[in-house]
Symmetry: C2
């Protein structure tokens, strides 16, 4: 099957922008950049990480240079620790040395780490310049849409940032072929999440096409990313600044973030942690009255795409609970939780008792696999 | 004369906000904060510098605490070097340790340094929280209005920042009584600038009331700050993001910034450097055909409020020119310059020859005083 190009628009009034998904869409970067008003008079800067630079930077730089853009490149170390103010300052130094100005653009070529960091460079350099997302991980179908950009503080993740929408998102399925298998599966976790919060038939589709997805079949992958981006775009269009609805995107994330923090970033990838978190949310839903199917379907589809569903027993429940309490979504004895009331439907429950969550965490350690 | 409260509004659609100017307006902070939706449920953080903390922090903290707000305070060293990513990270650490959240507000108590730094903390903490400006310098009538916030990069000033409008500006004339005389005069430079770009009759008024202004007479000062803020607000309302009109606020700044850079920050205060720059712009205007009066009136009013008009001879012209070339307003052999075509009227001239500017710089070194 072929990964023929698909296109969708993130509707945000005058900040609306297109997403192109398909095999080889990067070859069209020159035209698409020009259509979206990226200037050839001012240099643009591609920011990427060391792993992606090795595999895909040459191609993108060449396409853009041939199209007449002046291309500056900057490579950061791979990994979460590059989302720091130190890297931000270094990148802005490179931008200044190469004469970037207010008409310049920043291009993020990479996964969520590069997208978040480069996006904050674009948001803050000269108080905001244009920005293009070129996601190269499956997870980045989530992070590249919606305009949330940030770096980390030693005390908290993603705490220093901005809302800064890109001019366009260019998703070339070819770049995904070099992604390590574990990253593929972790990325599919957010794809499934977008089904679970919004579209039951897409959850069924993920289940039926799980093997194609993990094998990176271009057409299945293109469709899944298109659907995932569509859900994200629909939610963001309705609530750009996370006042209310956008919170549903956090399904699985309250437990997930706590697991990442307690395990020490690294043991669990983000997508793995939230897979476990989504099983927890489904268990919670059933305890609160939802049909048992919410739990069985959630768990099954996640297992089908190769994700973990059992919480590693060596992670102390007390520590997980403490980490959740520090989560901004917590309030006095009860917590805010995104609860799937049916497959494809979630609600924001503002008064889930913390003791019930503790029970769920314990049960997740026993989860049959 | 009394400095009875004056009020004006910065018109920016749903981001509009009021400015209160008067003696003792800080005593009303409790009500005004509440009216503007600052939450009592979440802690707020006052950021100030060491000089201002000693003189005015206790009072503001007490007023707000009495009104029922939970007040966290953070003090940075006085001076431009606090506008750094290092201070930003430290302040965000304090915010996190004291439990600030998305409903919290940041209050800037101080001059332009504190306003710019605290404003960028507010813009970037959790991707943007509420912000209140409590300016304590005369110069800050300029910096506290308009929403430009930033920190410096080792290679360039104000290069990392955002547009983040405050919820309100509270300008208590009492706090200005402790300002060092040199800072008073430097601040008046931007007051005069607002007359020169927008309102000839206000320039005349500044001339006639210069002695009262330098003596910090509350009523004269209140009126001058009200007028200065009004001009700034009018310009910003028409061009929030500095696409065109807002550039007129840079009268005197092209030369001024170059002088600050070459002298090494410290020898010349910002207001002093732009006073010399405004005389240069007036000289340029006359060379380009404006009436001689543009130059004589500009120079006279600046001298009346105690500002320098002669460029220090030891600053090398070559270095000044080089510093200007790196200025973003420069383009190929000609430069963009804000030129006063009459008192109270400026134009953006996009093709002033750099050799003419060089002549002006030389003449500024001979300026009679
Ligand atoms: N802004 C948002 O809305 C949002 C949403 C979700 C997650 N995030 C952020 O996204 C980040 C995680 O993103 P991620 O999972 O993409 O991580 P990542 O960017 O670190 O990429 C994962 C790994 O894959 C490598 N890689 C990337 N593309 C590759 C390719 N094509 N071939 C080979 N290797 C490749 C990277 O070098 C890295 O080692 C986190 O920092 C998270 O906070 C942001
Ligand atoms: N954001 C904008 O639109 C804008 C516009 C103009 C200038 N600025 C910025 O403003 C800064 C300059 O502002 P500034 O001149 O107010 O400098 P500042 O904040 O450094 O204040 C000047 C000095 O006065 C002291 N001080 C302040 N208030 C005092 C008081 N009431 N009593 C006694 N001492 C007091 C300070 O500690 C400092 O030593 C620069 O960083 C400049 O880039 C920003
Ligand atoms: Zn996520
Ligand atoms: Zn100025």
């Amino acid at each position: 099957m072929s990964g023929a190009p698909r296109e969708l628009t993130v509707e945000l009034g005058e900040r609306s922008y297109p997403i192109y998904i398909g095999e080889g869409v990067l070859d069209e970067a020159g035209n698409l950049f020009t259509e979206r008003g990226i200037s050839k008079k001012s240099p643009l800067m591609i920011i990427t990480d060391a792993n992606v630079a090795e595999r895909h930077l040459g191609h993108l730089a060449e396409v853009l240079t041939s199209a007449g853009f002046t291309v500056v490149t900057a490579v950061v170390p791979a990994g979460e620790s590059s989302k720091s103010l130190t890297e931000l300052e270094r990148l802005i130094g490179i931008a200044l040395e190469h004469g970037l100005d207010r008409k310049s653009a920043i291009v993020a070529l990479g996964g969520g780490v590069v997208g978040d960091l480069a996006g904050f460079v674009a948001a803050s350099f000269m108080r905001g310049i244009k920005f293009v997302q070129v996601p190269t991980t499956i997870l980045a179908h989530d992070s590249s849409v919606g305009g949330k950009v940030a770096v980390n503080h030693p005390l908290a993740k993603n705490i220093i940032g901005a809302f800064h929408q890109p001019e366009l998102v260019l998703y070339d399925l070819k770049t995904l072929q070099t992604l390590p298998e574990r990253e593929v599966k972790a990325g599919l976790s957010e794809v499934v999440k977008h089904g679970l919060i919004w579209d039951a038939s897409f959850v069924t589709w993920c289940d039926e096409n799980a093997d194609k997805l993990t094998a990176l079949d271009p057409d299945a992958l293109g469709y899944a990313l298109y659907k995932g981006c569509s859900v994200k775009a629909a939610v963001v269009s309705k609530d750009e600044r996370e006042n209310d609805l956008r919170a549903i995107l956090n399904l699985g994330h309250t437990i997930g973030h706590a697991l990442e923090a307690v395990a020490g970033y690294g043991e669990l990838l983000h997508g793995e942690a939230i897979a476990i978190g989504m099983v927890g949310a489904a268990r919670l839903a059933v305890r609160l009255g939802a049909s048992e199917e919410v739990y069985t379907v959630t768990k099954h589809v996640l297992q089908r795409v190769g994700l973990p569903v059992r919480l590693p027993a060596h992670l102390a429940t007390d520590e997980i609970m403490r980490a959740m309490m520090h989560d901004k979504k917590f309030q006095e004895g009860t917590m805010v939780f995104i609860v799937p009331t049916a497959i494809g439907v979630v609600e924001i429950n503002k008064s889930v008792s913390t003791s019930l969550i503790r029970e769920i965490v314990e049960q997740l350690k026993q989860e049959a696999i």
